[in-house]
Point group: D2
Chain length 294, copies 4
């Protein structure tokens, strides 16, 4: 029986770990706060407070933590994965972090005899709960092949996109498109409201043509109601826009709209809305149009 | 038997008129250049070179012409619809024009006893050929009800979005989202190529998550191949971006990304690429990134 | 003695007409509201309520009115200049209007035997009061030569920049630079305040180097105090940004920063700040930074 | 006699060190490449290849090096200033670096008993040669007072703007305004050329009004001639735009135009123009307008 150490049982990691229990894996969960561990134990998993302990006996380690420094700490630290897991262990990082950090962690792990795969996800809390995540996988083909059966338990569209770090690069591009599309839909909605159009009908017809997108399908209804409970927080999308703009700058790639929407996300956060869903970009379009709904 | 005068038998109007013939309507086509009329006649319709003649005997008039002045000419001119058609005639304008012009034409027509509906379409040449267009309909409920059975012969998602002109307003919003989404996808593609990612795989996984959109589904494959045969020309999208930025300015609505992408479209056109498909925004992202593929 | 009909005695036109009286011209003022005419009369000029009457006896006509339609009305209307002045009269338009309208008015006037010069000004109320305006002059060399002695009574830097309409084109470029520079200075100030820098000292040193500009010299002190009494109103600068973005679009010229700041000006106006000085762009930078001072 | 160790004798540092020799200081120069040291020796200074040696006997140390890591190396390294200079030595950093790095270096130096002042400059090669630099000084009042007599030998406008690091913060704001103003002037020039205006005359009149700025005064003539010999290289301004956008992001300050022009600078560099003067932003405006002059 395969033992999986799962580090980070938050809004995304929690349901993902539970699916792996359901799929018959022996899952040892580890989390900064205890209640999430208890929930996993109730669901049939095991728990521990120590990363070192969790990974020592694991065949596979999965991390789902907030940011680049967290991954660096858990992977490279004295109490972390590479210092305590058995050589040959497969390490799958599902966090969304900087591609360059992801490559460096993979290099370090490979040098120490580990198999390292980056597998950031898209699809949000609903995708995690329903196991319908899209997963962007970077890594060596053999390592990715080992990871695939596990990832298939938590996602639906799982694609190997390139060498280590490539998953993070695609995730960065994903976040660029998502933020930009939310902003475009927000601008369209405020524009249509200003002209007194039936916006529910408009969203329906927009979704059916070349303007169709997942934001219109999944988020526009809540945007029309000014319902901005996350979902995915502005704070996190701000972090992600920092990743994609830095990586584009590093590569000399022009992302005019990407950089522009990064400013709009940063501004929304600076105004104290970091804890709202990213679709709250609508609030800023309203504000800039002198049409504050609040 | 209902007689429909169809003015404007171009890349969109031609197949739409043919579908109406197939549906059993008596269709009289009229077009600036003769071959398009001949094709309709071969398909079982009738033809004429005179708008006045075409509309005189019609129960319904449909226009599908390039721009606001064309609609004004055809609707309001001495040889045009309101001067020559029978009062009570239903006039459906499928062109994409300025909402304020659309409202003015509707007011003028109503004052003279006509029923006027604006019904711009989205879905491109393929949508016209396959009768799967999305159609945004503005008009009085009774008039829209009369137009519906006809529109259903040429489209799939047909939605009444508000009073006269509202169809054009939604079409303007549609074009804002479409141009913006193309640019976002183009930025993502060039970014991914710069990092050596497998872009076909990346497009697949991006399309499956919250970044999913119709551009990834229908245009990204050609973008990866630098295949920019229209489709929908930059020249026309430039015209449409002028409509939406003017209308937003008029209403005091902020469209920061919309205005930004309008500049990018204008620039691509100024560089001589007006006849390419709008997905050629990719060429400009490459240029700005010093990665010219041509 | 040369008789000058001066149409438009507002915040700019009033002091300009007074300077012409002081210089010994016979000035007949005409204005929509009477008190401005009375002030000119007290200053030694003459007054009338009728444009037709004012221009009938004039050797030179000067207009200083708000917008393109006003110039069209005064120049081309039945009670206007070309219909009532003597052929050969020199017409100097000091208003800031669309270059294409300016060219059309000049063409019309020339066809009717008039000499037409466009001479928009920069320098604001202070420049008008102190007769230190910068004046951008478009017109035929002979006509400009006739206008020069008059313009020298109201301005300091007076430059012939090209054929009819060229003055308006340069004025449009002027407004692009002014709005952009205000925004740049506003961003710098909010940035420096956020870091606790001594901003008065900073403005002093910034003004002395390559970042130096007239906004730092003349407006930054008031910006630091959040003193936004006009000066030049956002409403008018919004009109001017419409002129320059339209003209750039028409010519296929990319003005990425110009178009961006046009959006910011429009947004400030949409939020109800149209009557503030254009340096109030600072308020919006604060708002976007979550640092509202009000 | 005061001994000054001057580290970094490049295009800026070379003339600055020479002025200090002229002013009667005992100047020991140190530079990565030898010829610059030789030139200082010929001018009456002394030279060495070792930072440790240079600073060991100095009363004052000045650095003028390219980037943040260079300052960190020279100040904090084992062969560097704090490890080898006498406690109590005054350290003046004239480089343009990240404000946070500047603060950290100051903290470190203060903790070890040094007096640390940041004093980045503006004015370019001409300003260095003519000793007319603008200098933005950050530091404790007592330390700044000691630095002033020295800085007055190399600059004209020297202003104490705040605590350690504040000089760098103001320099960052300076670079934001400079890049933005160049871009605005470039947009104006291409716009005016497209309309056939006499651009030399236009620059003259623009410089006289509210649009007036140092770029019009010092760089526009060369821009009209497409003469882009540095001056200040795009590569360096790209580095500086990275500093200001990062610092603004860190502080939550919105810099919409600043971020936009940072993209334009990055794009120009990505296209291979990094070695041109920053006024070459004009080339990109031309390119985006389909008006390539090359």
């Amino acid at each position: 029986m395969t033992t999986i150490a799962f580090i980070g049982l938050g809004i995304m990691g929690g349901p993902m770990a539970a699916h792996l229990v359901d799929a018959g894996y022996d899952v040892v969960g580890c989390n900064l706060s205890r209640p999430a561990v208890d929930r996993l134990v109730e669901h049939g998993g095991r728990g521990t407070n120590s990363v070192a302990e969790a990974v020592a006996e694991a065949d596979v380690v999965i991390t789902m933590v907030p940011d680049s420094p967290d991954v660096e700490g858990v992977a490279l630290g004295a109490d972390g994965i590479f210092a305590n897991a058995k050589p040959g262990t497969l390490y799958i990082d599902c966090s969304s972090i900087r591609p360059d950090v992801s490559r460096r962690v993979a290099d370090e792990g490979t040098a120490r005899g580990f198999r390292v795969v980056d597998a950031p996800v898209s699809g949000g809390e609903i995708g995690a709960v329903e196991a319908t995540l899209s997963i962007m996988v970077g890594g060596e083909p053999d390592d990715v092949a080992l990871a695939m059966p596990i990832l298939e338990k938590v996602g639906r569209t799982i694609v190997h996109v390139g060498p280590p770090g490539a998953g993070q690069t695609v995730k960065a591009a994903n976040q660029l498109i998502v933020a930009g599309t939310i902003e475009l839909v927000a601008e369209a909605i405020v524009f249509l409201e200003a002209y007194g159009v039936d916006t529910e009908a408009a969203v329906r017809v927009l979704a059916g043509g070349l303007a169709g997108n997942a934001i219109l399908d999944r988020k526009a209804a809540n945007m029309l109601k000014r319902e901005f409970t996350p979902g995915f927080r502005i704070d996190l999308h701000h972090k992600d826009m920092g990743i994609v703009t830095s990586a584009a700058r590093e590569a000399g790639v022009a992302i005019p709209l990407g950089a522009h929407v990064a400013q709009l996300v940063a501004s929304l956060r600076a105004q104290g809305h970091g804890a709202l869903d990213h679709s709250a970009l609508l609030l800023q379009v309203e504000q800039l149009s002198g049409r504050n709904s609040s």
